[in-house]
């Protein structure tokens, strides 16, 4: 059974690239274009192996989405990767502090995506492996 990934990004190009890479890697990938949509979807279905979450989005920021998800018990353990163009060091650490499991800096490439995914999947206590 292939892994499922959700891409949350307001930019279509980014969504397309991520999906292209993920699918090329054998993942199932779904996409939403804003934070609210992501939250709505995830409340319904939190069965994603990974969520790539853009930070700068018009309706609500990736940080807000992350915090909301982490605050909700149903979504608290969803592996979150910050998918951002913020490349400054301190910014990257900040994401981890508020609940992201990993950061994937744009522009990305196949190598980086693979590494990030592998890192997150290797995390202990993932729900799939528990259940």
């Amino acid at each position: 059974m292939s892994k499922r990934a959700l891409i949350v990004d307001d930019t279509e190009l980014n969504r397309k690239l991520a999906i292209a890479i993920l699918r090329r890697e054998g993942w199932e990938a779904e996409q939403v274009a804003c934070g609210k949509a992501a939250l709505a979807l995830l409340r319904e279905d939190c069965n994603f192996d990974i969520v790539l979450l853009d930070i700068r989005m018009p309706d609500m920021s990736g940080e807000e989405v992350c915090s909301t998800l982490r605050a909700d018990p149903r979504t608290a353990t969803i592996p979150l990767i910050a998918y951002t163009a913020h490349a400054l060091e301190d910014e990257l650490q900040g994401f981890r502090d508020i609940g992201f499991n990993e950061v994937l800096v744009k522009p990305t490439n196949v190598e980086a995506m693979r590494a990030a995914l592998a890192k997150v999947l290797a995390l202990p206590g993932r729900p799939e492996e528990q259940g």
């Binding site: 190009l13 690239l17 163009a85 400054l88 744009k106 990305t108």
Partner: protein
């Protein structure tokens, strides 16, 4: 010390300065003044006491010398006077005796009848001093005249004032005590058989009977032998006898008093002892005669002899009343005072003496001379010999070693016999002296120590040479006068004593004056010292007070200024110092206020500028961040899809297109990353995150990528690490990798052929990384600019070399942030070596 000094406040320093420049000199001055005063005082005191001492000494010496000289002069003068007195006396005696020659010659011409003889004698008198009546004094220790002598003691003043100086009047001497006495005891006419035919007695001393004088026992004291001599006389020749009289004894040698009698263990009977002048005025007198005789010639035939028996008292009177002192004459001689005169005959036998027991006399029982006072050894020898004295003395030398060491015979003293015969008086050496002076008929003097007193003793020959007296140059004998030497120079001694007293008084006064001066000087010195000390103290206190006041004033204002400055410094830029004066301090306050004004306005400006700069910086950061963000989004698409194309395209040409797109966008991304880093560094927001880093694995990872690149270009990448390379290095590994990547990347990029070397050396607490290549090298002026931003080698555009132009600048910034430094060693065409040194703490 320096530190301590710098910590002292200005006030302390000012006070210290005042003390140093005012108080210290003042103290020094005071000290100098005190020393000066002290020295002066000591000097004056010393000198005055030295002066006093030397004056005292000088005056004392002067008085000594004067006294000594005076004594000597007076002694000499006195000697001269006494010698003259002696010779005069001797001459007078001789004249007197000579007159007797004339008497006897005249008498010889007289008819030998009692009437003529009486007439002859009647006028032959001479005045003698009568001592008067004497009684024992109340205490029984001395004799005194019964009735006081009524000597006229009136003085006579000169009538003529011109004679007033040293007018010295002397009342008549002894004239009132003189009484006329017959010169002769008797006058006789002796026939050729020795029978006295006519005899006239004037005194009754001698027998009035007409006797045969050829018989010795019929003569005076049974001692006269003159008839034998008369028979040998030629007409006109004169016979003169020795002094003849019975010896008078005395058990005393000094005043005859009951006390002395007790000591001598004899009954006190002055009348039975010899007359001794003042020592025993009631004693038995020596009654002597000197007999003159000459033949009575009638018609050329000697019909008999006329004799005259001179009363020896008249001869004795020449010396008895003589005083070798100011008194000149005495009514009664006194042997005890040491000033008296004697007479001795030509055989050194005493014939006149204040003590009549000293006069040699006869023993009327034997008609022979009484034993004289012999020296103990002679007496002893005589007694042992068993001979008669006359016989014994014939073998005893005269003047035999006379010395004061010898002693008189005690036995004779007990008998009361003290007749003086100088020849055997061996305990009295002066006898020999007198003999020496008179043996040639001369005179003179010498000093003797007798009875514990120095005496001058004189002797003068009595130049009377009639009869047997003409046999020796000594004539009749000699007069001696003894005088206390002290008497001569009594005046000088008195003067000396007076002078000494005066000198003592004077020196005491001088000493007192010196002491007073000394006390005065020291009290004055002490006063000076106190006032000096007082003034100095007062001035020191004043100076210190002034110093404190000045210092307070100064430091108060300085403190005010510094307080103001401190307020301004602490940020109260609106604070201004109140101006209290128009002096330098006021000017300083003005300056500070102006400075504060200018600082305040500068601050205002600066604050604005800073805020603007901060705003600009923030905007820049925001701009950079959003730029980065906005650029990354399209880059994400380009990079991502070109990679996917690259991976998925089958057509080689199409795939190379995709690769070109991909590498171009990678370059763009690197440029973007470098720009962001630089921006962060410039904004001061770049922070390193040092962690212990495993150096070896870091180096392996870094070199792996570049080795692949190098080998692709046909280059060799060598590594040379120091053997003592530390295992871990505390550093920011990301940035260290970034630096090394940059250098290695450049080296590979700019090296066409040859090799690239990475070396790491250990320095002292630092590591030196170096990347060397065999590339084109870099010229000197290029080296200056190579670390500038956006700088690239000249051939950047014309070669295949591409770069952001920020890499080296960034690398150097990182090295600087790490606390190290970066540099280059290169020459064009000979490759380049970039190195950097980072500390290894």
């Amino acid at each position: 010390m320096k530190g301590y000094l710098t910590r002292l406040g200005i006030r302390t320093k000012l006070v210290a300065l005042f003390v140093a420049i005012k108080v210290v000199p003042m103290l020094l001055l005071a000290l100098l003044a005190w020393q000066g005063v002290t020295r002066l005082g000591r000097e004056v005191s010393d000198r005055s006491s030295r002066m006093a001492g030397s004056m005292r000494d000088t005056v004392g010496e002067l008085s000594d010398v004067m006294a000594k000289e005076s004594v000597r002069a007076l002694d000499l003068k006195s000697r001269e006077l006494i010698e003259r007195l002696t010779t005069d006396t001797a001459l007078a005696v001789a004249e007197f005796l000579k007159a007797r020659d004339n008497d006897v010659l005249l008498a010889a011409a007289l008819e030998p009848t009692a009437a003529d003889f009486e007439r002859f004698l009647r006028n032959r008198t001479r005045a003698l001093v009568v001592p008067g009546k004497w009684v024992l004094s109340g205490d029984g220790k001395s004799w005194m005249q019964e009735t006081k002598q009524t000597t006229r003691s009136e003085t006579i003043e000169p009538d003529n004032p011109e004679n007033k100086l040293d007018f010295n009047y002397r009342p008549p001497d002894l004239s009132s005590l003189r009484e006329e006495r017959p010169l002769y005891h008797e006058m006789t006419f002796v026939d050729l058989d020795g029978l006295e035919r006519v005899k006239v007695s004037a005194t009754g001393l001698l027998s009035r009977e007409l006797r045969n004088v050829a018989q010795k026992r019929n003569t005076y004291a049974c001692a006269e032998t003159y008839f034998e001599d008369l028979k040998r006389l030629l007409p006109g020749e004169i016979y003169v006898s020795d002094v003849i009289g019975p010896y008078v004894r005395s058990h005393y040698y000094g005043p005859v008093t009951p006390e002395a009698a007790e000591q001598a263990k004899v009954p006190f009977a002055p009348g039975k002892e010899a007359y001794s002048g003042r020592e025993n005025p009631l004693g038995k007198r020596f009654q002597g005669i000197i007999r003159w005789a000459t033949p009575a010639v009638r018609n050329g035939k000697t019909i008999g002899y006329v004799t005259l028996a001179l009363n020896h008292d008249h001869v004795m009177s020449f010396t008895d009343n003589l005083m070798p002192t100011e008194a000149r004459y005495t009514p009664i001689p006194d042997a005890s005072n040491g000033n008296y005169a004697f007479m001795w005959d030509y055989r050194d036998r005493n014939i006149a003496h204040p003590r009549h027991q000293s006069i040699i006399g006869f023993n009327p029982k034997t008609g022979d001379y009484e034993t004289p006072w012999l020296e103990a050894s002679i007496y002893k020898g005589w007694k042992q010999s068993g001979k008669s004295l006359r016989k014994y003395l014939e073998i005893v030398p005269a003047f035999d070693h006379q010395s004061r060491e010898k002693k008189p015979s005690v036995e004779l003293i007990k008998e009361g016999i003290r007749g003086l015969d100088g020849r055997y008086l061996n305990f009295a050496p002066q006898c020999q002296g007198w003999y020496d002076l008179t043996k040639q008929g001369g005179s003179g003097s010498f000093a003797i120590l007798w009875s514990g007193v120095w005496k001058l003793t004189t002797a003068a020959t009595i130049p009377y040479f009639t009869g047997k007296y003409g046999k020796t140059p000594r004539g009749f004998g000699y007069v001696t006068i003894g005088a206390n030497v002290d008497e001569f120079h009594k005046a000088a001694t008195l003067t000396k004593a007076l002078l000494d007293t005066r000198v003592n008084v004077y020196s005491t006064q001088m000493k007192q004056t010196a002491n007073d001066t000394h006390d005065m000087i020291f009290s004055s010195m002490s006063k000076t010292a106190w006032s000096l000390a007082g003034m100095t103290t007062l001035m020191i206190v004043l100076v210190i007070l002034i110093a404190v006041w000045l210092a307070n004033m100064l430091t108060g204002r300085v403190t005010m200024l510094s307080g103001g400055l401190q307020k301004i410094e602490q940020g109260d830029l609106s604070f201004r110092i109140g101006k209290t004066s128009d002096d330098e301090m006021g000017l300083l306050a003005d300056s500070i206020n102006r400075m504060a004004d200018s600082v305040q306005s500068s601050f205002t400006h600066l604050e604005g500028a800073r805020q603007r700069a901060e705003e600009a910086n923030r905007l820049k950061s925001v701009f950079l961040a959003s730029m980065s963000h906005e650029l990354r989004t399209p880059l994400n698409g380009i990079l991502g899809f070109s990679e996917l194309l690259k991976l998925d395209l089958q057509d080689a040409e199409q795939r190379s297109f995709a690769e070109t797109i991909h590498s171009s966008s990678e370059h763009l991304l690197n440029l973007l990353n470098d720009l962001l880093d630089l921006a962060k560094i410039e904004a001061g927001r770049m922070e390193l995150k040092p962690v212990p880093t495993e150096l070896k694995s870091l180096l392996v990872t870094v070199t792996a990528v570049h080795r692949a690149h190098a080998e692709r270009k046909g280059l060799v990448l060598t590594e040379l690490y120091a053997p003592d390379l530390p295992a871990t290095l505390l550093c920011d590994p990301t940035r260290l990798v970034q630096i090394l990547n940059n250098l290695l990347n450049n080296a590979v990029k700019f090296t066409a052929q040859g090799s690239i070397k990475l070396s790491v050396e250990c320095l002292d607490h630092a590591l030196r990384f170096a990347v060397s290549d065999t590339g084109i090298g870099i010229s000197k002026d290029q080296q200056q600019r190579i670390f500038d931003k956006f700088h690239q080698a000249d051939n950047f555009l014309t070669s295949e070399h591409t770069g952001t132009g920020l890499g080296l600048a960034l690398a150097r910034e990182f090295v600087t942030l790490m606390g190290g430094e970066m540099g280059i060693e290169s020459e064009p065409g000979k490759g380049a070596s970039f190195f950097f040194i980072v500390p290894n703490q």
